[in-house]
Symmetry: C2
Subunit: 654 residues, 2 copies
């Protein structure tokens, strides 16, 4: 009786289906490829997704050499077409970024606990190297705030920059060397995708946290405190600042507040009207000049306002003899190099990609890494510390109309002139103005609209962002980063460990099958449980999938008892979204098959993709899983075909 | 001109398509659910995929209490229906596993550098605890070789068991305590899925490597060497063994070889004929008795054959006062507890699941973890070291007809009798026989057919297996495990970082679209590039996907130039396999859209799943991506609809 009613239920559905699909298409294994071929494809997709050798195809030997040279030195590519017209634009933008680079260079060097002049050295050699090797047309190269902060704080944990300045400088150059080696090797080994693991959410949280940490450090200069804490966290810095109220200098604070307001206003104006980019670009240098003149005029250095003091003159001295490749600090400099390297690389690549997308040209990530790495390797032996493409300066460069990397050369030449002739002018520059410049620069790193956007779209990403932010503020710069990256990877692993299985149903009048909890019109087919598995199947989720699918079956059976539905005959697994499988995954189907067969249910697989089909067939010597009557190309064909089989059986039985 | 030819190409295809699909179905966002509801579902699927509270639904208070008690103490469930019939089976199997457990207990304790009697203690209390709390009917509980090896080797790195035996014992009990706490907390916190990260391939390689390491350690007993190396690796052990040839004792070697042959033969017989399980089950005890008698009769202890010596008598003394919760060794015991805990848990759960699947009952992973953890916590305060369900002993238990956990109780009682009365008999048991017993037991851990199966199906899994194997042999037991787990996770991450994008084409005469490199009959639609993305889209792969999709477009355009095909009008992305997306993924579509629009190409999305649709809509305020003319439910409908649009446009133009 019950079997009959089932069949009639099924029949009514069946009549409806056959109108749409008559022919049943076979699932075939993909064309045979050897293990070596597969490995080659896999390696190519992993390391050469951009197919860099494509351009060499079908070229003559000489042409190949030229193309190769142009590939390694992009300057050969754009240099040949360089014109006076382009030079004009580049000179304007080069001078503009130089006016920003000089005060920022001095400020960031102080942030890294290095002598101010190292910041200028670092704005001279690396831009020249980048102009030859780099492929971005907008990147303005030099020291950046976050990498300076990280390097300074990591090295300061073990060596005091005031007690042992020479050792500190040696360690900074050595860290820069290792950062460069690490960056260049990522590019050469084509492992550039590693920086992709710093998600946008991580970076936004991290940047905002770092901006706050950097600003807190500026309280020393802005309040005129002499004995500032060596710690970086929010709590220790604030408590130390308020415990030393007696050291606050009102002259310094007044000057700081005035210039900070001016600089922030200038920034605001330029943000509102990008054409007025020169307002914010020129403001720091103008402020430095004005502040220096004020100090000089009023002899303010005698009234509690601290100044930079005498600076060395002359170009970068060589520093390769200062690099440390052995000794007790090797671990420290390698670790510092690794972290500053990856952070500055992320910033440089992101900046390059952003402006390339705006101007619609391509930036090759791996090549950029080699360029940035070489820049730091050369820099480390010419008294420069870690440099990369800075976001704020590149934006100014772009707005000022930079056309090629020549703007970097112009900037370097301007810095060179400064180094050779203008250094004595900085003697009376007050430290407070440098603090104000840094605060103005890092305020832009706090991106509230982006944070809100993330909150709106993905709550977990927002959590990652918060972890990065609070981790940086309350734990440590590296700690916050590690927590956020760990959490992002954990999320990916959790998605793999607990993949979605959804019940799909037929959209009436079609042979389309979709999630019945998403498309309300989709209805289940009586006697069928159709599940779609939405993830690769591997060791991390086979146990879960096994239990979850059995629970789907139990749930169906429980419902069938209460609703007097027709009993379950087929479990159809739609594998369209299972992009890969491993040995554990293959055994899942075998186990499932055994388990459901004991209940008199048949397991049917639909649309296994190439790799999955291949592995199933290799594992399935008894041809249990790849029998034509339990393997179909679409869910619609599976349902139609299985219903007609039942109909055939029941009509012969009657 | 060219546009016309394109349209006519498209038209011919179009006429063909409309026959199949006329109506266009809209993609709708899934029903609204609040963030809290989503979080609840996500947490439930992550931590309670088995829905453990299901059975309590709709029960009265008293019934709930009974069900709850039965849930915590499974003995209450099966105990009520216990019969004499079942007892008979359990007595037979209990005695059988006891005859195996006694010599193995003594041997494994020596493997862990512990006094032999600790092995017997550990075969008495834990089985009783498990009988009350455990839900497997076949698991035979006691010390196991690999956990013993790991604990012994990890503790020996810092404390010498011969110079400071009391401290070593304290550390062993403390490690056992932490292993238990760790195991129980995994169960209570429902984090049992962590052991799933030890894939089958990892375990096969690891087990085989460990078997070799364990066997190498037995060379001490089998060759009669007195000053054995403290190292574990293949190379140092073998070189030390051959450097001490003068210590080899021919009497010991002769005895060892004879008994080894007998034991291996017995194992072979039982493997061939499972009904003769008692041959291999009884052989170790028989060998111990025979060897002891031989030594006693010939006074062989005076002829170079070392014997166990006097053993303590009596039941387990309490040991809670020996647990160390502070001091310099806390880190060591916690680390040892963690690693031995996770390894023994993996073995116990795997064994339980295997036999549950054979007899068709369910084992609750998290509950089992609590049972095994409690067993070790109780054990650590009653002079037991780490125990779990042993594979070989459980197989014997199963073959001997065990019906319930009562067989564990029978075994415990037998061990108790031994402890109370039979200990003096072991005084003359030669160490060589214990070595032979261990080697025979661990030989079974080397599973060549399974390794071959993995090689056949998945070469990468095979690589993971080899890494685990060689890592254990040449690096260290923990090192090999860490390498293999790291590699497995790396593979998952690589799959996410480099997801497959495949070009799909129409299977003629249908509206089915499949990979054109898999289904040779599938053909592209002129003017359309239809790509299927087979992975979640997130921060780790957006950069790659962006570049890869643009390269697909370039390739299409290059081919179109050579083959004079109609120019590319639409890029259709089939998102059926994109199970989730994050903020980076959402911005991918926006960037792609901008990039292709510059080329006059339109981006069309097909079948975004619930979560993806929702996030796209939330991010897409301008409704650029979710306009009805670039969002379709199936590829077929997208193609048909877009072609008819073009046709309409071109006919009005003409």
């Amino acid at each position: 009786m019950e079997a009959n009613s089932t069949v009639s239920d099924l029949n009514s559905h069946h009549d409806h289906c056959v109108e749409i699909t008559m022919e049943v298409h076979k699932v075939v294994p993909p064309p045979h490829r050897s293990t070596l071929q597969k490995l080659k494809t896999r390696l190519k997709e992993t390391f050469f997704p951009d197919d860099p050798l494509r351009q060499f195809k079908g070229q003559t030997g000489k042409m190949r050499f030229i193309l190769g040279a142009q590939y390694v030195f992009p300057i050969l590519q754009w240099g040949t077409n360089y014109s006076l017209q382009l030079l004009k634009s580049d000179v304007v933008s080069g001078l503009t970024i130089a006016s920003l680079a000089i005060p920022q260079g001095i400020s960031y060097a102080k942030l890294a606990n290095l002598p101010p002049i190292v910041g200028l050295y670092s704005s001279f050699v690396p831009p020249l190297v980048y102009a030859v090797l780099g492929s971005s047309r907008d990147l303005a190269v030099g020291p950046v705030s976050i990498a300076s902060l990280i390097m300074g704080s990591m090295l300061r944990e073990e060596v005091s920059p005031s007690n042992d300045p020479l050792l500190f400088l040696q360690l900074a150059f050595s860290s820069t060397f290792f950062a460069g080696v690490f960056q260049a090797s990522l590019g050469i080994l084509r492992l550039g995708f590693i920086i992709d693991f710093l998600s946008k959410a991580t970076l936004i949280g991290f940047m905002a946290g770092a901006a706050i940490i950097v600003s807190l450090q500026q309280l020393k200069a802005l309040l005129g405190i002499k004995n500032f804490t060596k710690q970086m966290g929010l709590v220790p810095v604030l408590s130390s600042v308020f415990h030393r109220k007696n050291e606050w200098s009102w002259q310094t604070i007044l000057m700081g507040v005035c210039f900070l307001v001016v600089l922030l206003l200038a920034r605001h104006v330029s943000m509102r009207r990008p054409k007025l980019f020169w307002v914010s670009a020129g403001a720091p240098l103008a402020s430095v000049i004005l502040a220096t003149l004020l100090v000089f005029a009023f002899k303010a250095q005698n009234h509690g306002i601290s100044v930079i003091g005498k600076l060395q003159q002359g170009l970068n001295p060589p520093s390769w003899n200062m690099l440390q490749f052995h000794g007790s600090y090797l671990g420290l400099v390698m670790k510092t190099g690794l972290i500053t390297g990856i952070i500055s690389l992320t910033e440089g690549i992101a900046v390059g990609r952003t402006f390339a997308a705006l101007k619609n040209y391509q930036v090759d990530g791996n090549k950029e890494m080699i360029a940035i790495g070489m820049m730091n390797i050369v820099g480390s032996s010419t008294s420069c510390y870690v440099t990369t493409g800075a976001f704020s300066r590149s934006a100014v460069n772009h707005n000022a109309g930079a056309k090629t990397a020549v703007s970097n050369i112009i900037m370097a030449v301007t810095v060179m002139v400064t180094l050779l002739f203008l250094m004595p002018l900085f003697q009376y520059t007050p430290n407070v103005i440098l603090g104000a410049i840094i605060v103005t620069a890092v305020v832009g790193l706090i991106d509230i609209p982006a944070a809100y956007y993330i909150w709106k779209i993905d709550k977990f990403d927002f959590l990652v962002m918060l972890c990065a932010f609070f981790g940086v503020i309350f734990v440590s710069v590296q700690g916050g980063l590690a927590i956020a990256v760990g959490l992002s990877i954990f999320k990916i692993l959790m998605q793999i460990t607990r993949p979605k299985t959804v019940m799909v149903g037929n959209i009436p009048g079609t042979n389309i099958y979709r999630n019945i909890h998403h498309y309300k019109e989709a209805t289940g087919v009586p006697g069928f449980l159709i599940l779609s598995i939405e993830s690769p199947i591997n060791f991390a989720n086979t146990t879960y999938l096994n239990e979850r699918i059995l629970r789907w079956i139990e749930d169906y059976e429980a419902e069938q008892d209460t609703k007097k539905q027709s009993s379950l005959r087929f479990v159809v697994l739609d594998l369209s979204a299972v992009s890969s499988i491993d040995t554990s995954g293959v055994s899942l189907f075998k186990e499932l098959r055994k388990a459901v067969e004991k209940k008199g249910i048949e397991l049917v697989l639909v649309n296994p993709l190439g790799e999955v089909m291949e592995k199933l067939q290799r594992a399935d010597e008894a041809r249990d899983l790849s029998r034509p009557d339990c393997l179909f190309l679409t869910v619609g064909e599976a349902v139609a075909s299985l219903i007609s089989t039942i109909k055939g059986q029941s009509s012969t039985h009657i």
